[in-house]
């Protein structure tokens, strides 16, 4: 390999994995932690894949299951491949830097392409391995199957890699065109996330049903027919599965070799004619600014602060996805999760705990959304000085941020509630109480998250001026939210269970006697929530100005 290409490739790898440079015990610990988590995820995938194949096997659809899975992996690899190609080959800021050095464009291209290929190869191998091992276990194909695995994996890596290179430029142009259509992006992403989640939950629901009784198939006859017909037409994905199981090899091999050849020729043509042109165009065109012609508008101070805060989030695909999209998708997520958890609860400990289950589910989703407020100060980045020089008190500025979070949270929780009541998963009275509890917890979590960020802001932003990596406050916020959700949710479930016993338990407490009925549950959970809310407000308020003023930027 040419010396320059080797240096550039090493630079690319070093840059990508700079977070894992082993310099002190902390870095070793971090690497170890990452490996443990990766191992756990792979094992979890293997376990779920095993269950997935067993479920299809019970209906005589094992081959079809493999085709479906390979198709999903193919699409996933294509998606990640296109995304990496756009980022590494065309958008990465270092293109401009590298062009100043005495290295040829071909060398830069080859080093980056090699990096992309290696990444694609590793990701494909890691993603496919647990599924294929699980398939071998369920199908009983054993060693013969393992011996054949490398061939389809290599086909998959090469074909998705070539196709990614062909698709990268048109997809990049398309994303550039819609890049500044923020409302469209949010709606599109919300629909996609909701659909993906609904599909996932349907599959999960089927798996749960299958786990409860492995003797019966979860698929109806019509469904079996649909799956069989679909698998037949999933071309070219079905050919990868055919090679693995030795099915119609006389069609599968020529088809895969043909597709590989064609996609290779397509990639060469795209690179030859379009690579340099697109790269130079991206280096020359600064950002992707949009024009928005308006008149000068006067707004009250508080409204202008909120308006600015909203635009800062709304005009960032990254932030919008983290916040608005998840808030939009929350009701659907809660609906499906609640459905399943209620079924699980009913089968095991009774209908009585369903209110607590719903509360737990809603609080967990509320936690994910409110954790965005843990970057409320950090997101200011280099603009933090604005907050100090503005003739507006710190409290007012922070309250404007808080109110935006509150409005989003109230909206998301209210829609959740409407969905739950509308779908008869909950009564109106319980629903209103649940809304009050979840909203108070959301407010408490938002205040605590904001306060943590004020105490330890993280101003290290990416090129687009956005917080890309989560700061410690976000992690803490999520952990705290989960702890609150689990504590309040479990107490609610436990006391609901006790309260709905045919003969409620009575406990003497001094001169009084406590009856552990449903009213007792409402009082205890409301008090716990109220206490958490009051503590959050106090923690947020005490010493706020002093801590804020201490931030020097």
């Amino acid at each position: 390999m040419n010396g320059n290409i080797r240096t550039l490739l090493r630079l690319e790898i070093k840059n990508r994995f700079s977070n894992y440079s082993l310099v002190d015990y902390k870095s070793y610990f971090k690497l170890f932690g990452t490996l443990v988590i990766t191992g756990a995820v792979i094992y979890a995938l293997y376990w779920v894949a095993g269950l997935f194949f067993e479920m299809f096997d019970a209906a005589g659809l094992l081959y079809e299951a493999l085709v479906l899975l390979v198709s999903l992996i193919f699409l996933f690899m294509l998606f990640t491949g296109v995304s990496s190609t756009i980022k590494v080959l065309y958008y990465k800021g270092d293109n401009e830097i590298l062009m100043r050095y005495p290295v040829s464009g071909t060398e830069v291209f080859v080093s980056k392409t090699l990096f992309l290929f290696l990444t694609q190869f590793c990701v494909t191998a890691i993603v496919m391995a647990p599924f294929l091992v699980a398939y071998a276990g369920v199908s009983g194909l054993g060693t013969a199957f393992y011996a054949k695995i490398p061939v389809p994996i290599l086909f998959l890596v090469f074909i998705t890699f070539f196709l990614s290179n062909i698709l990268a430029i048109p997809i990049m142009h398309l994303t550039n065109r819609i890049r500044n259509k923020f409302a469209l992006i949010i709606i599109g992403l919300a629909v996609l996330v909701t659909l993906a989640f609904a599909l996932y939950m349907l599959l999960f629901n089927s798996m749960v049903t299958f786990m409860n009784d492995k003797e019966f198939s979860v698929f109806s006859d019509e469904m079996v027919e649909i799956i069989e017909n679909t698998a037949k037409w999933l071309i070219p994905m079905k050919y990868f599965a055919d090679v693995m199981v030795g099915h119609e090899l006389y069609v599968a091999y020529p088809a895969l070799i043909g597709i590989q050849g064609l996609s290779l020729i397509g990639m060469i043509l795209v690179i030859y004619f379009l690579y340099a042109k697109t790269l130079l165009n991206n280096v020359e065109v600064e950002g992707s600014a949009f024009k928005h012609v308006t008149r000068n508008r006067c707004r009250p101070v508080f409204l202008t602060l909120m308006h600015k805060e909203f635009l800062q989030v709304f005009r960032s695909v990254n932030y919008s996805f983290q916040y608005f999209v998840l808030a939009c998708a929350m009701p659907v997520m809660v609906f499906f999760c609640n459905n399943i958890t209620r079924e699980l609860g009913q089968n095991q400990v009774g209908e009585q705990i369903s209110l607590g289950m719903t509360m737990l589910v809603m609080l967990i989703f509320a936690t994910v959304i409110t954790s965005f407020s843990a970057t409320s100060t950090s997101r200011e980045g280099d603009n933090f000085y604005h907050t100090k020089v503005a003739p507006v008190s710190v409290r007012t500025q922070l309250f404007a941020k808080f109110l935006m979070y509150l409005l989003v949270s109230v909206g998301a929780n209210a829609v959740c509630l409407a969905v739950l009541i509308g779908s008869e998963q909950m009564e109106i009275r319980d629903g209103l109480w649940l809304f009050a509890v979840v909203e108070l917890c959301s407010v408490g979590l938002t205040l605590l998250s904001m306060r943590m960020d004020i105490a330890h802001p993280y101003f290290n932003l990416s090129g687009e001026g956005e917080v890309v990596n989560n700061n410690a406050s976000t992690t803490m916020s999520v952990a705290m939210g989960f702890a609150v959700a689990l504590t309040i949710g479990i107490v609610c479930m436990f006391l609901s269970y006790l309260g709905s016993l045919p003969k409620p338990i009575t406990v003497p407490a001094g001169a009084f006697t406590l009856t552990l009925d449903m009213n007792f549950m409402f009082v205890v959970v409301s008090s716990m929530t109220g206490l958490f809310f009051v503590v959050s407000v106090l923690v947020y308020t005490i010493g706020l100005k002093k801590t804020y003023n201490r931030i020097a930027r």
Partner: protein, 251 residues
């Protein structure tokens, strides 16, 4: 207009004061230059007087308002242009200026009038409705200046305003400084550019190691010409002086 009295500022985890016993008094209608080498304490002083940094002791008043005790009123009388021209880049130029104008409660009539005047003066008419992230360095600096001036502040503070600007842009900013002072306001800016300070300032202060070394009235005959010499004398290290003597000996 601006009174700084016995200002002390020490950063957390630092052993020495970054600004030590600094006192200054600026009058209405004057342009005041703040000179010093890198790390002398210019930006720290500016950040203290704008309210960005808290300080250990001393008093800063802007138009009679104490920045520590009555920050809102003090800030209402001041416009600030930072050295790194950081702005909310997702907003358009107009949105950013309007945001600032709202914070300073500028009326619609004044806003429209000043906005049109400055946008045309700084030649930003074509770019003002485009997102700031596409602006060049100079354009960002100009939009910062427009935002700082939209409420017609009595005290205009600029930290290294000419850094990285072309000749034309510098001339536009200097003209604006002159006009602002002619209206009875005060301009306070830090700079490394001695020629510039000598050319446009009424007075200049030199700071070294956080301590104010001298305040020079540039209207007094000869002071403009000797500003550079005095700056070098004050800020030069012992090694600089030895090097200079060696050069003189060698003719």
């Amino acid at each position: 207009m601006l009174e700084i009295s016995h200002l002390y500022k020490k950063y957390l985890n630092s052993e020495r004061f970054s600004v030590e016993d600094l006192s200054l008094s600026l009058q209405p209608g004057e342009i005041f230059g703040f000179l010093g080498q890198n790390g002398a304490g210019k930006s720290t002083t500016i950040k203290c007087l704008t309210g960005i940094y808290p300080f250990n002791s001393g008093k800063i008043t802007i138009c009679g308002y104490d920045i520590a005790k009555d920050p809102i009123n003090a800030k209402l009388n001041m416009g600030y242009v930072p050295d790194n021209h950081s702005v909310y880049e997702k907003l358009t130029g107009r949105e950013y200026v309007n945001y600032t104008a709202d914070l300073y409660k500028v009326s619609k009539r004044d806003r429209n009038e000043r906005f049109d005047k400055y946008v045309s003066q700084f030649k930003l008419t074509k770019a003002v409705d485009t997102q700031i992230k596409s602006y060049s360095h100079g354009m960002k600096q100009k939009i910062c200046i427009i935002a700082a001036l939209i409420h017609n502040p009595k005290l205009w503070v600029l930290d290294e305003p000419m850094m990285g600007l072309d000749h034309q842009s510098m001339a536009e900013i200097l003209k604006r400084m002159d006009d602002h002072c002619a209206e009875g306001n005060t301009v306070f800016f830090s700079s490394h550019n001695l020629d510039l300070v000598a050319k446009i300032c009424d007075r200049a202060a030199i700071i070294k190691d956080g301590k104010l070394q001298d305040v020079i009235d540039l209207h007094i005959k000869g002071n403009k010409e000797t500003l550079e010499k005095r700056f070098v004398e004050i800020t030069a290290t012992e090694q600089d002086k030895i090097n200079e003597r060696t050069l003189l000996r060698r003719g």
